[in-house]
């Protein structure tokens, strides 16, 4: 394997002034994903699904879930606050009205990996699947792990997707973060990584390294566990001739960096 190619990317930031089709908020995700199967899908999961839907080039409103199984496509997600509101809601319901009042349809959301497995279930990606939840470094930790999955030949393609919500519980928790660089910003982004092959123009991804630098500001607010992936996807979509360095992290969780470079292999 001569490197890793980024063969697709999408940024999905509701409320941001960006070119291309609008990024609807989670409650309007049906405009992108179609009407079916959205019940009990959390806001962060909806944002992640929208990002991947756009990356795959599917038309808005066309369901993405009738696709054949792709057993060699892995999903590595990153999110820290995706399911905290659901967990707080379930507990509030149980304490007020008892166990009968909770819906079993919310069960998958009690498990922290739900965002990753929901993306796999929706688009039928059957390869390795997990959610990185390592705090501020999560986005680029996810990219690093995805690169290793490809090098270890566990997948032919890895969909790396980051998403954070900005609901009441997530926002309250984020305010307790030791070193946030601003209010929590809801958003998602994704990258499609594959092993680079000869003759194909690729973006070369170097392994993340420590980067004890000033706080990153990609101009879109603080999306915490999604930050590194959003910054990388933005960089990919507007990549200059010279290599670009993407950074994420904070003083509490440490730092990760990624080099992106436009080059042709072989």
């Amino acid at each position: 394997m001569t490197g890793v190619a980024i063969t697709g990317s999408a940024v999905y930031l509701p409320g941001a002034d960006r070119p291309g089709p609008p990024a609807y908020p989670p409650e309007l995700a049906r405009k992108v994903l179609g009407r079916k199967r959205l019940l009990f899908k959390e806001p962060a999961t909806r944002l992640a699904l929208c990002a991947v839907h756009r990356m795959l080039g599917l038309p808005d409103g066309e369901p993405g879930h009738d696709r054949p199984l792709e057993p060699r496509t892995a999903v590595v997600a990153s999110s820290n606050l995706g399911n905290v509101e659901t967990v707080a809601d379930i507990v509030r319901t149980v304490r007020a009205d008892g166990w009968r009042a909770v819906s079993p349809l919310a069960a998958p959301n009690a498990s922290s990996n739900v965002l990753a497995s929901a993306v796999a279930g929706w688009f039928r990606f059957g390869g390795p699947n997990f959610l990185v939840c390592s705090g501020a470094t999560g986005g680029l930790d996810a990219v690093a792990v995805a690169v290793r999955l490809l090098r270890a030949r566990r997948a032919d393609r890895v969909v790396v997707v980051g998403a954070e919500p900005a609901d009441e519980v997530a926002t309250a928790l984020h305010e307790r973060r030791t070193a946030q660089s601003g209010p929590l910003r809801a958003g998602a982004a994704c990258l499609s990584l594959t092993a680079a092959t000869r003759g194909v123009p690729i973006l070369r991804v170097s392994s993340p390294v420590d980067a004890p630098e000033s706080p990153p500001d990609a101009g879109f607010g603080d999306s915490y566990g999604a930050h590194g992936i959003i910054a990388a996807a933005l960089a990919v979509q507007d990549l200059p001739a010279d290599p670009v360095r993407v950074v994420c992290g904070d003083p509490a969780d440490g730092w990760r960096a990624l080099e992106l470079e436009r080059r042709s292999v072989g």
């Binding site: 199984l69 792709e70 057993p71 820290n80 905290v84 659901t86 967990v87 707080a88 379930i90 507990v91 149980v94 304490r95 008892g98 166990w99 009968r100 909770v102 079993p104 069960a107 998958p108 009690a110 498990s111 922290s112 990996n113 739900v114 990753a116 497995s117 929901a118 796999a120 279930g121 039928r124 059957g126 390869g127 390795p128 699947n129 997990f130 959610l131 990185v132 939840c133 390592s134 705090g135 501020a136 930790d141 690093a144 792990v145 290793r148 999955l149 090098r151 566990r154 519980v169 309250a172 928790l173 984020h174 307790r176 973060r177 030791t178 392994s207 420590d210 509490a252 969780d253 440490g254």
Partner: protein, 366 residues
């Protein structure tokens, strides 16, 4: 470069890794009344608690993880100050109990486990991943990859989980009557109960010292279908992935440490998958959750910790809680009543989780 397991430490309701193994051999269970959270409100009356301080002590999973990681690193002789050491931590429920108790009572960086690892070792790169009930198996796969690719001199692979009120309520919601005991592969099983604990392993390259076991491979798959119901095809893909990665054959397996959650759906699906993959060779099989409960993200590494003792001490503990095996389990020889000798073959450890995430690990005597 293949990976070796240099050290292993575990914490369950039955004690540390040695105490747990001894209790399993004796057929003991750590089952007891739910010690925190109102049982009637969640429709769950029993659990498998680690018998330490007040169960509402904040951040208990982090404390168990730090204890196991510290012991495993010391046992391994690995020095993170002088060697390139990474850490991968798997979890199902993170420190969400702290959020449930009081949203304002926890800092976000305490939801993951970098702080717990770094409280016992100067390891800069700690990746916490959520992978439901197979999280530890996923962490193990990533750890082995890092060793085999030469990215690290050693990898600390760990897992930790406590109980959350939200998960208990979801378990209680789907049973007619609260489960009184977890009975893996039993015709009269009535559902799953949660356990607690942590586990840690230290992986090193093949060339290193006197290891506990050789980590042969971990296969991974995602059902990519239903979010909570297991899928036989998805489970089989993970098993085949493990054998393909290792260039080994199902007939090389002498013992399966099954996932065995005691639920209506998991046990027949797992047994059917085992029949499909191992039908001809009929390996021995045991399951731990009747004794230690479902320890969520730690489940896979608890299985590996027991597998290591089975290989080293030569005896396989029986399935606690099993009375009459389900029909689907006919092609594995479930260990019942008293321990039996461990065959000198591969041990397979299964772990499957919410979202259809599957991890199947193979290990053997080094």
């Amino acid at each position: 470069m293949p990976a070796l397991i240099a050290a292993s430490a575990a914490r369950t309701c039955l004690g540390d890794e040695q105490e747990t193994y001894a209790a399993l051999l004796a057929g003991r269970s750590g089952l007891g009344p739910l010690r925190h959270i109102d049982p009637d409100s969640v429709h769950v009356r029993y659990g498998y608690h680690v018998p330490d301080a007040d169960p509402e002590t904040p951040l208990r999973p982090s404390a168990w993880l730090a204890e196991c990681a510290g012991r495993a690193l010391k046992q391994s002789g690995v020095d993170p100050r002088r060697q390139r050491v990474l850490a991968v931590v798997g979890t199902g429920l993170r420190e969400l109990r702290a959020v449930e108790r009081e949203v304002g009572g926890v800092r976000t960086e305490q939801l993951h486990f970098a702080g717990a690892v770094q409280s016992v070792a100067p390891i800069a790169e700690v990746c916490t991943l959520a992978g439901a009930c197979s999280a530890g198996g996923h962490a193990l796969a990533l750890g082995q990859d890092a060793i085999e690719l030469g990215d690290a001199d050693a990898v600390l692979v760990a897992a930790a989980d406590g109980m959350t009120e939200s998960m208990l309520a979801m378990m209680g919601r789907v049973v007619d009557e609260p489960t009184d005991a977890l009975r893996p592969f039993d015709t009269g099983r009535t559902g799953v109960l949660l356990g607690e604990g942590a586990a840690a392993l230290v992986l090193v390259p093949e060339s290193s010292g006197s290891p506990l076991a050789r980590l042969v491979a971990t296969g991974l798959s995602c059902d990519a279908g239903h979010e909570t119901a297991p899928d036989v095809d998805g489970i089989c893909r993970a098993m085949r992935d493990a054998f393909d990665r290792a260039d080994r054959h199902p007939a090389d397996v002498g013992l399966v440490i099954a996932h065995g959650t005691g639920t209506a759906l998991n046990d027949p699906a797992e047994a059917t998958a085992l029949h499909r993959i191992h039908g001809a060779s009929a390996p021995l099989a045991t399951a731990l959750k009747g004794a230690i409960g479902h320890t969520s993200g730690s489940s896979a590494l608890h299985g590996v910790a027991v597998a290591i003792e089975c290989l080293r001490q030569g005896r396989i503990p029986p399935v606690v809680g099993l009375r009459e095996p389900i029909e689907e389990a006919r092609s594995v020889r479930l260990v019942r009543g008293t321990p039996v000798p461990t065959p000198r073959k591969l041990v397979q450890v299964n772990a499957f989780g919410f979202g259809g995430v599957n991890a199947v690990t193979l290990l053997e005597t080094a």
